[in-house]
Symmetry: C2
Subunit: 338 residues, 2 copies
């Protein structure tokens, strides 16, 4: 690629020399250490002792670079966290990039470099990738679709039907950081201190919890789009239980609480990208907290509520002693949050 | 979803009830028979005897529905053909959908149904999916990123470095059908008969060829974006060989040849989506043709040229006896072709 080419052009998507140049000048250097080869259409996976878990997600966050992360890092951590939520060690991933004509090549390079760094740090290997270019106005910046492959080597079954009355509901971090950081940045709200995404990889946390308490862990979920409220509602759909949260125990940063209040948003519905929802048996809850407190990525380990007999309701006991019902999200959608 | 909701709306991407409604009303029925579950973030893969191959691609073809196929079918067949080109039986795939606000829900339903049908017919199971919605003007219709997992159960190594002088170059079908069909449809060119995409799955063809001649097959490639010319140029990069094609032996439909002439395009650079490039040893070429002639999906099995000692050049011997050099594509790009 010549020095003059500072923007993505349609020719970068022609599948010929310009595509190769883009791959060689941006993707290969940024993703060095991965087994990507521009010449191969597929990669081979080795045999593993456990079973492979697979997950896929598109990342369309806007803006692509936000306080605390960017779409490249988000694609890696989001994939890792989906696998972690199934109790699988993240091992491989693929990424397909849809680039908009006119995208700044330096911005693309930053995002891909960040992605490569995140994958390398977490020991996840990017084994296949693809790049397409679409016309100005037919996509917005950079979209990344990622597929993750993880290896499940233990026998803990993580599923909502294992949840029963008495179980404790735990979160590992502050609630709503990512959603608020992206919204505030996109809309130019000058909150102080500025909200930062919680974007972080959670396999290490999950691995240690599983190792410590085993099948006392009933269910895990990465509460991204739709937030903690949506994750809980979906979790107990059609189960004969309720979840009762205690408002005072839900960790929400002051900036996030105040900004959410001002915008008329409930932090329970704001996306998290570095927070794991865990449902564990009552007698293991204390032990789980101890494990979480040893991890920097578990920013605010908290028992936020418990499971009771019921009819699939999620409720919050407020500081004043009342309770309110938490439904599926019904306000204006919060687009392009992840 | 209410009957009034005929278009994709931003709320369909909120990760809550509307997203669930979209999945339940469009995706689940269209993809019945697959092990997709809206409640799970990941799926488990069984152990297999051979090794897993993995491939990924974004499909952004415009228009999403074109003569002879649509983006849903293309995502399945494109994934199958990438795996087939590595000699792997396609087994699983994941799909992530990026939908534009305002997309017609019936059009989406057609595309997803076509995808489900293509996967079911070919015995490929869709095991994980994701849907995001982006604002009007920030994507164009529907983009599908697909990841395929295939199982390699034989020991034939398919790689350019196995290619040597004397090998024969075979194509299984007419050259340029897909590229021309999409371009003509997009631009409204009234060619008669109208060009049809060759969009088709090629694992059956590849499987039978491998079974019949084994490691006499040196290399396979699905010549999509960039066409046969680009696939051949990439194949022999840095190899001490040339490829000499015989123009008269390259199967090109009359409509495609005439339309390409009129548009100033060379069919060798037009995308194919149901055509496999095969390089096989000289003594196996006849046997390979025999196998191909038993397959409906091999529309025009032809030995189109051979490998000679050389310096990574691709040349065409014309009907008049001259030769011309085939370079990497250097004209205007042909965007959104796959």
């Amino acid at each position: 690629m010549t020095d003059e080419a500072k923007l993505v052009e349609m020719v970068h998507g022609d599948g010929g020399r310009a595509t190769r140049d883009l791959i060689d000048s941006v993707f290969i250097p940024a993703l060095a250490g991965n087994s990507l080869s521009a010449a191969d259409d597929a990669a081979a996976l080795p045999q593993v002792p456990g079973s492979w878990m697979i997950t896929t997600d598109a990342f369309v966050v806007s803006p692509a670079e936000f306080p605390g992360g960017d779409v490249g890092e988000l694609a890696v951590y989001g994939t890792i966290n989906d696998l972690a939520a199934c109790g699988a060690r993240p091992v491989y991933m693929t990424a397909s990039f849809i680039l908009q004509e006119g995208l700044d090549l330096d911005a693309l390079r930053r995002v891909v470099t960040s992605m490569g760094h995140a994958a390398a740090t977490e020991g996840v290997e990017l084994v296949a990738a693809d790049t397409k270019v679409v016309e100005r106005g037919s996509a917005d910046g950079v979209f990344i679709s990622a597929t993750g492959l993880g290896c499940r080597t233990h026998n803990v079954r993580l599923a909502p039907d294992r949840i029963s009355a008495g179980d404790r509901v735990i979160v590992t971090g502050y609630v709503g950081d990512h959603g608020l950081a992206v919204l505030a940045n996109r809309e130019g709200f000058p909150f102080s201190p500025p909200a930062q995404s919680d974007c972080a990889p959670l396999w290490g946390v999950v691995r240690d919890v599983l190792q410590q308490v085993g099948d006392a862990v009933k269910f895990l979920r990465d509460p991204t789009r739709g937030g903690l409220a949506t994750a809980l509602k979906e979790m107990i759909t059609s189960l004969p239980v309720d979840v009762m949260l205690r408002e005072g125990d839900i960790p929400v940063r002051r900036t996030v609480r105040e900004a959410a209040d001002m915008l008329g948003l409930d932090p329970l519905y704001l996306a998290n990208e570095g927070n794991m929802l865990m449902v564990v048996s009552e007698d293991a809850a204390g032990e789980v907290l101890k494990v979480l407190r040893c991890h920097d990525t578990a920013a605010a380990p908290s028992i936020v509520g418990e499971v009771t007999p019921g009819t699939a309701a999620v409720r919050v006991r407020t500081a004043l002693g009342g309770t309110r019902n938490v439904g599926f999200f019904a306000g204006d959608p919060l687009p392009r949050i992840c």
